[in-house]
């Protein structure tokens, strides 16, 4: 078998290759180099010093932020995937072709508006004297604190990820062979059990990748933890801006950014490996 790519396919993939080199690989290499530079009198100087890595990794504030961000993003991925699944299942399995198309259209609409604008408008809902608390007050409940805490952050993450996760789940569920569902029923597997034993395993790859997207988007998000979570205690993305603002410490920000990239690469690799794992030898 000839595995060498043809000139034809090379020509077409060249723009993408150049793009990737120019805007991903080169900046990444630069970021690595930058992390060894030093700052003196608010001036960056090319250097090869591990001081930034040592300083950042020896601070408990960094590790607190790291694990908080990891936990929030994991929670976000899990909760959003769980919340999305019943909706995706209903759209894929219970709706007719026409209604299905409408629902997919409706799920695309949130992307018409900037995410930042949507998060700002959520403040109106979530603040102490906001719409939700006013409504709950009528029912004799609350007020609950929903802004400037993890609840606010997670609500923002859901705004960011939920429509996308539902769409990805719907597309993967649409590919589940309906014969498998009938065959399971035929072998005495009831409705709910079929969802757990057959539909979820069949759509596993798509479901895991939908969750992975929620994780990646939440892990790197800056808007929700700042405007809905209050920014304190910080997540890693907030920490990066804090570090750059205080004393031009770009090299130390680079250390945080590289740690984030390494984490995302590890999680993505593990998730995809899990998603495509096959049964048997």
């Amino acid at each position: 078998m000839n595995t060498r790519p043809s000139l034809f396919s090379l020509t077409f993939s060249l723009p993408l290759l150049i793009w990737q080199l120019a805007f991903f690989l080169f900046p990444l290499a630069f970021l690595v180099a930058l992390s060894f530079w030093t700052v003196r009198n608010f001036q960056m100087q090319p250097n090869f010093d591990t001081v930034n890595w040592v300083k950042i990794y020896s601070r408990s504030v960094f590790w607190d932020a790291y694990f908080r961000t990891l936990l929030l993003a994991s929670f976000s991925a899990a909760l959003i995937s769980l919340a999305a699944f019943p909706a995706s299942y209903a759209i894929s399995f219970k709706l007719g072709e026409n209604a299905k198309r409408w629902m997919i259209f409706v799920l695309i609409i949130p992307f018409f508006t900037s995410y930042l604008v949507r998060v700002y408008s959520l403040q109106v809902f979530l603040s102490d004297a906001g719409i939700l608390n006013a409504f709950l007050g009528y029912l004799g409940l609350g007020p609950y604190s929903m802004l400037n805490n993890s609840f606010g952050t997670l609500t923002g993450y859901a705004t960011l990820c939920l429509p996308l996760v539902i769409l990805l789940q719907v597309f993967s569920l649409n590919f589940v062979n309906r014969d498998l569902v009938e065959a399971a029923h035929n072998m005495r597997c009831g409705r709910l059990r079929t969802v757990l034993e057959v539909i979820i395993p069949s759509a596993k790859a798509g479901l895991v990748i939908a969750g992975l997207f929620a994780f990646i988007l939440s892990f790197g998000d800056f808007v929700s933890p700042l405007y809905l979570g209050g920014g304190n205690p910080p997540t890693l993305s907030i920490m990066i801006t804090d570090i750059t603002k205080s004393g031009q410490q770009w090299p130390r920000a680079a250390v945080v950014a590289l740690t984030m990239i390494a984490t995302l690469l590890t999680v993505a690799f593990a998730a995809i490996k899990f998603a495509y794992r096959e049964a048997g030898k």
Binding site: E182, A184, M187, K204, A279
Partner: protein, 364 residues
């Protein structure tokens, strides 16, 4: 209990909106029988099977399984395992886990589950693949997994929806003998849906022929082949020539039929009653027709026809002819018998056959 048929379709109708998929299906399936339901696509054969499996609900009529009415009972409360055309094996489970699946649903303990699954894998000759993934198996091996998965619960009846259609011809024949062997050994009822006449006629005890939602004929392969009930069945089998005419005189021994070609004589059928002048259709098997040069003296039925073409593959040859009135005829003969006549296209020949080889179609 043993005298009741295992399945009884009691005037079953299935409609999808205004489309009638199955019209008044009324038949029984005996215990231990291999029944094939045959027809072209869209004839309602798969819908009939799916109603029995509980995957569709009949619009009218009743379905009785073992004497018990099962309409409205969901498929997961029935013991009617089915083998899908796509096989519907679970790709996320191993071969062994696939076979264990229905035992797991029946809460059979793990050790027992494993033992029973392995027994069936062994019986079907695929034990060595127990821990493999489905995607690593060949078509024939997957077929065996699907069978093992359905038979592991030792059901009284097995439903099969064109399970061999994806296999190549050689493997198909081998799986046919596996299937009929299994059915005989187990003594359980097989209901087998197919569009292939060779599959149906080689395996089944009885065949149901359906077209456009209606059952055209039920009988043993031999009965259907020898005595097609109507024009549809005769045409469907593809080996008969059908003539239309009216009954001129009906004696005890012979009938005279007047057709647009000429008058034909046939042996009076014992089971059909008709009055003189009423329309009659009869079929003559293409094997029972012979060819001769024009002018050859012949005492039985004969007709002149022009050769259109022929197929000379296999043990016998098929000659296609057309009468002056435009009716197509098919004559199937051994190569030796055809040596004596000139069968070039355009050649006029005498087609002849005996009165006892005419079969009156009672359903016409």
């Amino acid at each position: 209990m043993l005298d009741t048929p295992i399945v009884h379709f009691d005037n079953v109708v299935k409609k999808f909106g205004s489309f009638t998929a199955v019209e008044k299906a009324d038949f029984q399936i005996a215990r231990g029988e291999f029944l094939a339901i045959m027809g072209s696509s869209g004839c309602g054969k798969t819908t009939t099977l799916r109603m029995l499996a509980g995957l569709e609900d009949p619009t009218e009529g009743n379905i009785l399984l073992d004497g018990e009415k099962i309409n409205g009972k969901p498929t997961w409360e029935r013991d009617t395992p089915m083998v899908w055309q796509s096989l519907a094996l679970f790709p996320f489970l191993t071969v062994q886990e696939n076979v264990e699946f229905s035992l797991k649903m029946r809460k059979v303990p793990k050790g027992q589950r494993r033992e029973r699954a392995r027994k069936w894998l062994d019986r079907l000759g695929i034990l060595e693949f127990a821990d493999r993934n489905i995607s690593q198996l060949s078509g024939g091996q997957r077929q065996r997994v699907a069978l093992a998965r359905s038979l592991v619960t030792e059901p009284k009846i097995l439903l099969l929806d064109e399970p061999l259609s994806a296999l190549d011809a050689h493997l198909k024949v081998r799986m046919q003998s596996v299937l009929s062997g299994l059915q005989k050994d187990l003594g359980i009822t097989f209901v087998y849906v197919t569009h292939s006449m060779s599959e149906a006629f080689s395996m089944a005890d009885r065949v149901v022929i359906m077209s456009r939602g209606k059952i055209e004929q039920i009988g043993t392969p031999e009965e259907i082949y020898r005595e097609p009930r109507n024009r549809f069945v005769a045409d469907f089998l593809g080996s008969s020539n059908v003539f239309d005419g009216s009954l001129k005189s009906s004696g005890n021994e012979v009938w005279q039929i007047e057709t647009e070609h000429s008058s034909f004589t046939l042996k009076a059928p014992s089971e059909v009653q008709k009055t003189d002048g009423s329309p009659v259709a009869f079929a003559v098997s293409s094997e029972n027709m012979s060819l001769a040069a024009i002018g050859t003296p012949w005492a039985g039925n004969s007709i002149e026809a022009t050769v259109v073409g022929g197929e000379f593959a296999g043990a016998s040859a098929t000659v296609f002819l057309e009468t002056d009135q435009g009716q197509e005829l098919k004559v199937q003969k051994g190569h030796d018998e055809l040596k004596t006549v000139d069968i070039r296209a355009g050649q006029k020949l005498l087609v002849h056959w005996l009165p006892e080889h005419c079969h009156v179609l009672p359903g016409e």
